[in-house]
Symmetry: C2
Subunit: 334 residues, 2 copies
C-alpha cells in the first residue's frame, strides 16, 4: 500500500478561528459559542446568495481581527462553498487583497481548505493561510431542492443545510492547536442514488479514509479523544459505526458527527441532523476549537465528508460519489 499520510516539516498551527451562524444554529446546543449571529439569517442582504457571501466576508474579517492580521500577512485564501460556481466565496471575499484559490469539495470543503492550508504553511510555501467555507440553508434549498416558498417536505433521512461560515488562520508562528498530519481523500462511489440520504452516500468515503488512516498509522479509535466526521448526520454516523465494527474497529463513544452536535435533533426537529460546508466549519471553529485550546481535547481526528453529485447528475440517474479528507490535530492548554 502506498503511504498517503502527509506530515510536515514545521507542523502548522490553527492560531485563530471565527464562526458566523444563523437563527436555528443559535437555538441549538452551541448557541453561545459562535462569534457572530443574525437571527434573521439575512445578514442585511436582499438575496440569500448575497447573505451567504456576507457571512464569508464577516468570518474572514473576524478571524483576521482576532489574530491581528492584515491582508499582506496572509499568503492565500483557500475557500469554497456549495453554490453553483462557488459564488458565495467568489463574491464574499472580493474585499480582501489576498491570493485566492477556489475549491469545490461539497461538505468536505472545510477539511479540504484546512488540508491545503496545512500543506502550504507546513512546507514553508506560505507563513499564513486562511481556510474558509460556508453554507446557507435558504440558498442551498433553492439550488439543490426547491425554493422555500414551495414548502417542500423533507424525508426523515434528509439533513438540514446549516446556515454558517467558519474561517481558520493556519500559521507557522503563534499559538494554537497543531495539525500533526493529514490524509487527503479519494473519491468513492458505492452506488447510492437517494439524494435524500446523503449520509449513506458519504459514509463509504469516511470509512475508506478512516481505514486507510488506522492501517497506515497502526492506530485505533481509542487512541483519540474525539473522532469527528462532518457531516454524515444520523444515518451516515450509524453506518460508519456499524461498518467500522465489521472491519474490526470499535469507534467507541468518542466518535461524533458535526451534523449531530450542532442541533438538538429531537427538540429542534432536525430530521437526520445538519449538513453543508458551514456545518463542520462552524462546529470545528467554535466548540471543538475551544476544547482543543482549553485542553479538554488533546488528540483528535477531524474528517470532512462531501457528496460530489449535482442536481443534474442525479436527474441523469448517476449515483452519488463521496470524498473524505482527514486531519489529525493535537490540542493542549494553549
Amino acid at each position: 500500500m502506498t503511504k498517503r499520510i502527509i506530515e510536515f516539516k514545521t507542523p502548522p498551527k490553527i492560531i485563530a478561528t471565527a464562526s458566523v451562524a444563523g437563527k436555528r444554529e443559535n437555538e441549538g446546543p452551541l448557541s453561545k459559542k459562535f462569534d457572530i449571529i443574525d437571527e434573521t439569517d439575512s445578514f442585511s442582504q436582499d438575496t440569500w446568495e448575497k447573505s451567504e457571501s456576507e457571512m464569508q466576508r464577516l468570518a474572514v474579517k473576524k478571524v483576521m481581527e482576532k489574530a491581528d492580521m492584515k491582508d499582506e500577512n496572509i499568503g492565500a485564501l483557500f475557500a469554497g462553498d456549495l453554490t453553483n460556481q462557488c459564488v458565495s466565496s467568489n463574491y464574499g471575499l472580493l474585499d480582501f487583497d489576498i491570493p485566492f484559490f477556489g475549491l469545490y469539495g461539497a461538505c468536505s470543503t472545510a477539511a479540504e481548505s484546512l488540508t491545503l492550508s496545512a500543506l502550504t504553511v507546513g512546507n514553508d510555501i506560505f507563513e499564513t493561510a486562511i481556510a474558509v467555507t460556508s453554507s446557507h440553508n435558504c440558498s442551498a434549498e433553492r439550488q439543490f431542492r426547491y425554493p422555500l416558498e414551495y414548502g417542500g417536505q423533507h424525508t426523515p433521512t434528509s439533513q438540514w443545510t446549516v446556515t454558517g461560515s467558519g474561517a481558520f488562520i493556519v500559521s507557522k508562528n503563534g499559538k494554537g492547536p497543531i495539525i500533526c498530519d493529514v490524509l487527503p481523500g479519494k473519491t468513492v462511489d458505492r452506488g447510492i442514488t437517494d439524494i435524500n440520504n446523503m449520509g449513506a452516500a458519504m459514509a463509504p468515503a469516511a470509512i475508506s479514509t478512516l481505514l486507510r488512516y488506522f492501517k497506515e498509522t497502526d492506530s485505533h479509535p481509542s487512541d483519540y479523544d474525539l473522532i469527528a466526521t462532518g457531516d454524515l448526520g444520523y444515518e451516515g454516523h450509524r453506518i460508519v459505526k456499524e461498518l467500522m465494527l465489521e472491519n474490526g474497529y470499535d469507534m467507541g463513544k468518542q466518535y461524533l458527527d458535526c451534523g449531530l452536535i450542532i442541533y438538538d435533533i429531537k427538540k429542534q426537529d432536525m430530521h437526520a441532523g445538519g449538513s453543508g460546508c458551514g456545518c463542520s466549519a462552524i462546529v470545528f471553529a467554535s466548540h471543538i476549537y475551544n476544547e482543543l485550546c482549553s485542553g479538554k481535547l488533546n488528540n483528535i481526528l477531524f474528517i470532512g465528508t462531501g457528496a460530489l453529485m449535482s442536481p443534474s447528475s442525479v436527474q441523469q440517474g448517476q449515483s452519488i460519489p463521496g470524498i473524505a479528507h482527514l486531519l489529525h490535530i493535537k490540542g493542549g492548554d494553549i
Copy 2:
C-alpha cells in the same frame, strides 16, 4: 508591496501532457496536435455531462500512459471544470485510486490546478501530481445559456466554450519544461455585468496579475517569447493590450490568447474566440507544450483567467469578478 511570487526549492517539471478535443477544435489550426479526438463530441456517452466526464478520464489515462505511471506514483489529482458542483471532474476521475482535490476557478482552473501542482511538487509534498480540467460546449451551453435545442443566438462579443480536456503531469523527476515560479491571482471586480462579454470581465484580472508580475520581477513583456492568456478571446485580448500600454507595457507580438489560437476565428465563425476550462488546457497541453519541448519557445508566461459569476449571481444584478493565475515556464531542447 508584499512579495507574492512563489519560487521553488526544486523547480517542478511538466513531464507529460494529454489533450482530448471535439469536432470544432479538430477543424481548427491545432487539429493535428491533439491526442484524442471524437468527431461526434459525445465520447460514446448518452448525455453531454457524461461526455465531459469521459473526456477527463481519457485525458488522465492518456497522460499516465505517456509518462508510464500508475495510480500509486501520483500524489494528488488537482481537478476542476465549469459544471455545477464540478461533476465532470468528480465522476470522470472515479476510476483513479489517487487523492483528489476539487477546484473551482472557472476558466482559470487549468492555471489554478497547475499552480497547486507546482506548489506541492516544488516543495517536496508530492513527487508527482496531475492537473486536469475540462469544458464541453454542449454541457456549458445548457448550464450557462440555453439548451442547444433552443437554438439561441450568440452576440459578437460572446466566446465559444471549447470541447476539450487537458491533463498535465508535474513531477520532481523526469524531463520536461520547468515551472520557474508562479503568481497566484486575486479576485478583481471592475463592475462588468454583460454575461456575453466575459473577455471584458476577465481582462482587469489579467492586467492586475501581469502588472504585479512585471513590477515584482522588474521584467518586461519583451523578455518573454510568449505571453499566453487563457481565455480572454478577441475583446479581452484587445483590452489587455490597450490598458497594459497605458500602464507603460507594450505587450508586443508575443502576446497571444489561447481563445484566439484554438480556432480560425473568421473561417470557423467563432465570434470572439474560444473559452472554457478546456481551452487554455488543450492549447497549452498540445501546441505550447510541443514548442516548449522542441526549443521553439524558451521563456513564457501562461496566465489562466476566470470569470467567477454564476447564472444566478448575474440574474441578481451582480457584476462579474475575474481572477488570473500566472505561471512562468522555461523550455528548451528537451
